[in-house]
């Protein structure tokens, strides 16, 4: 199964033009991965975004999760306490990095935020290639305060995989775009590319 789908797709629970938050119905151990490109396909256009953060915790922040004692693993605790899982939630923060309308992919903010409660799914390899091939999608990510070097490295790594045999060329092309965006800031560029080549 594709990571993050977890059977039930998360839905948009907070929506903005630049970022949105989606939540799983309950706690999942395999949510969208850091840097993964996701898509919201409900509405006149498909909004593409990059996972920048994932957090899990109690649904009610006023009732913090109590850690049980003993030597059980997490899976064993959940198995022995099936009522716990529905009280927990996994939330994923996504930064928008473009949208697809008809045949065109645009490395721009979407004209409107994704609809609330819309399903958020993994971008297909075709969508990923379409949206990332010229590296322009990086501009929105670099401009976002939510997006740090680890995210950029992860998204480049993931997108490169989608490019298959042309992964090397894609990495260089995207790296050049990144160099322009970061004005060749050596420390950040090195840090990101180190994450790409790791």
């Amino acid at each position: 199964m594709t990571p993050g789908t977890g059977g039930d797709a998360p839905r948009v629970v907070e929506a903005g033009l630049r970022s949105f938050v989606c939540a799983y119905e309950r706690y999942v151990e395999d949510p969208f991965r850091l840097g993964q490109l996701v898509a919201v396909r409900e509405g006149p256009w498909s909004i593409l975004g990059c996972v920048v953060d994932t957090e899990s915790g109690p649904e009610d922040p006023g009732r913090p999760l109590q850690a049980p004692g003993g030597s059980l693993t997490a899976a064993e605790v959940f198995a022995e306490n099936p009522h716990i899982r529905p009280l927990l939630r996994t939330r994923v923060t996504v930064v928008a990095c473009g949208y697809i309308e008809g045949e065109g992919a645009f490395a721009l903010l979407p004209p409107a935020p994704p609809p609330l409660l819309a399903r958020v799914e993994s971008a297909t390899p075709a969508e990923t290639m379409h949206a990332t091939s010229d590296g322009a999608f990086l501009a929105l990510l670099v401009a976002s305060a939510l997006c740090d070097d680890a995210v950029l490295a992860a998204v480049l790594r993931g997108a490169a995989t989608a490019h298959g045999a042309a992964a090397g060329e894609f990495t260089v092309r995207a790296g050049k775009e990144l160099a322009r965006l970061l004005k060749a800031e050596p420390a950040r560029l090195s840090s990101i590319l180190r994450g790409v080549t790791a």
Partner: protein
């Protein structure tokens, strides 16, 4: 339809009086001396020459913290990513020429706009830039760097309208280039309909290159046919050395033919001191035409005593010291003069008395005026700079006097004026250095421009030693490799974009690569001169060449003239 030119980059800055900066597109490279083109805002193209290649950084960080030099994946990726983003290659291009769509050219007075597209010049635009009148004679100066299918020609008439020069270190190809230019000139003169249209050369051939054959260091035979073999009836060869073969006549200088003015120029090589030359003038004035024979003798002759001392004042035991004292010379200076003259008269081409110099001189003048070029070969005296300078100075002064008289006498009637004469001298800086330029006939010829139909064609290794005023009168310069900063500066001083030209000269290869610039060319050009093959053809008039060009030339001409 014009083929699309190769796209190279875009204009990112610059200045009309210095250079424009062109940022190259990824993967493009351009070398010094290559031509680039950019469209001008109001139409037409700007043609310029690459004078510097720059490695630049868009941001300081990229070069302050460069990627590692190792082969690890991160360093390799960083290097590749930063190329053409954080760092890039740019070229400086000296703007020289505006080329309009109709082929008209003019000196650059406008610049392309920022980000204007820059392309590599192609044959078509260079043809327009360097076009010469097909009816007029032209010499092939070579192919521009990186453009083997293009040949640049220079209009011979324009080349020698003003003085010209070939400069470069020893062994760079000066003699070969000079031979090719002179060969074209002689061929072109032969094709002239009337004598007055001919340009002839008086060549002082120090190393015996321009007479029968020329020593050749390239591939194949060790010698190449030179002017006499190639244009037998249009070239006369005189030799100072009786042992030289294939000459038309021998040149002998009589001691009575030499005047103190002939010796002036020898001060620059230390053959005579200034006071010694002053003494020579006084001796010539006092003793007449025999002055050299008189003061070269071991002891003063009765005639010398008589002309030196008043009657009754003659010393009992006359000697040269007393003669010097009587004439008011410093004895050391007088001895310097006598020693120098005696060294002189021991040379094989100097004879006591009148020799046949006057007759030879007249013959040379008539030969030149008759439309034939003259080569004066020095044979074994070629390594004797004093001999070379004396003879060149003697002949040039007298011939120039005759030419100037003829021009004055013609009073503007073109048909009565003598044909154009080009005097070719080697080691020119010895004749026209800073101290001598005012006195030397060669300095005068350069300064007079073509007023008397005489110009100079100088060949030299040390242009910085040539008087600056004279050098500034050298219209067209063929510059081969030079090492000395001073020599390079001397040649390009005052030129537009001289710092760029300096770089180009400094980067020339050690052989067969030259920067040609000045009066006869619309813009500087770095060329590889034609090879001096056994069947070398420098060319006559373009019309003739187009009529029946030799097979090896036809291939080069065709792309230019369609």
């Amino acid at each position: 339809m014009t083929a699309e030119r190769e796209r190279m980059g875009s204009v990112v800055g610059g200045s009309l009086t210095k250079s424009i900066e062109v940022r190259l597109e990824p993967g493009k490279s351009a070398g010094l001396g290559e031509y680039l083109v950019s469209p001008l805002p109001e139409g037409g193209d700007l043609l310029g020459m690459v004078t510097d290649v720059l490695l630049k950084s868009a941001e300081a960080g990229a070069t302050s913290w460069p990627p590692g030099a190792d082969d690890g994946p991160l360093a390799a990726l960083l290097r590749e990513v930063l190329l053409d983003t954080g760092v890039y290659t740019a070229v400086e291009v000296n703007p020289y020429l505006e080329v309009e769509a109709d082929g008209a050219t003019a000196r650059a007075r406008r610049l392309p706009r920022h980000f204007a597209r820059v392309t590599r010049a192609d044959q078509e635009i260079l043809n327009r830039a360097f076009a010469v009148d097909e009816e007029r004679g032209a010499v092939r100066v070579g192919t521009p760097l990186g453009m083997d299918d293009v040949t640049v020609f220079v209009d011979i008439e324009k080349l020698f309208e003003r003085s010209a020069g070939v400069f470069g270190k020893s062994g760079t190809g000066k003699s070969v280039a000079t031979m090719q230019i002179l060969d074209a000139m002689v061929a072109n003169s032969r094709a002239a309909r009337v004598n007055g249209e001919r340009t002839v050369a008086l060549i002082f051939d120090m190393h015996n290159d321009y007479g029968w054959d020329m020593k050749f260091q390239g591939e194949g035979a060790r010698a190449r046919k030179s002017l006499k073999q190639r244009h037998g009836s249009d070239v006369a060869v005189y030799s100072l050395d009786p042992d030289v073969l294939n000459t038309d006549a021998r040149l002998v200088v009589g001691t009575q033919d030499i005047t103190p003015e002939d010796l002036d120029v020898l001060q620059s090589i230390g053959a005579f001191t200034g006071p010694a030359i002053e003494a020579a003038h006084e001796c010539h004035s006092r003793f007449g035409r025999t002055w050299i024979d008189d003061i070269s003798a071991d002891d003063p002759s009765p005639a010398v005593i008589r002309k030196t001392f008043r009657e009754g004042d003659e010393p009992d035991d006359p000697n040269w010291t007393k003669v010097a004292q009587r004439l008011g010379f410093h004895s050391g200076s007088f001895e310097n003069l006598r020693r120098g003259l005696r060294r002189f008269t021991r040379r094989g081409f100097v004879q006591s008395g009148t020799g046949q110099f006057s007759g030879a001189l007249n013959h040379i003048v008539q030969t030149l005026k008759g439309g034939k070029s003259v080569v004066v070969q020095f044979g074994k005296f070629g390594s004797d700079l004093t001999a070379y300078m004396l003879v060149a100075n003697m002949l040039s002064r007298r011939i120039w006097e005759q030419y100037s008289e003829a021009v004055e006498k013609a009073q503007g009637r073109a048909q009565d004026e003598p044909n154009r004469l080009v005097i070719v001298i080697e080691e020119a800086h010895k004749f026209i250095d800073r101290s001598m330029a005012g006195q030397s006939i060669f300095g005068q010829i350069a300064r007079e421009l073509r007023k008397y139909n005489v110009t100079l064609f100088v060949i030299d290794q040390r242009p910085s030693q040539i008087d600056a005023e004279v050098l500034s009168q050298i219209g067209t310069k063929f510059c081969f490799q030079l090492d000395s900063e001073a020599d390079i500066e001397a040649l390009v001083g005052g030129m537009q974009g001289r710092s760029g030209l300096r770089s180009v000269i400094a980067s020339l290869e050690s052989r067969q690569q030259a920067l040609v610039f000045g009066h006869a060319l619309p813009m500087p050009v770095v060329v590889r001169p034609p090879d001096l093959t056994a069947n070398f053809e420098a060319g006559a008039s373009l019309r003739d060449r187009l009529g029946a060009p030799p097979a090896n030339v036809a291939a080069k001409l065709k792309p230019i003239f369609g």
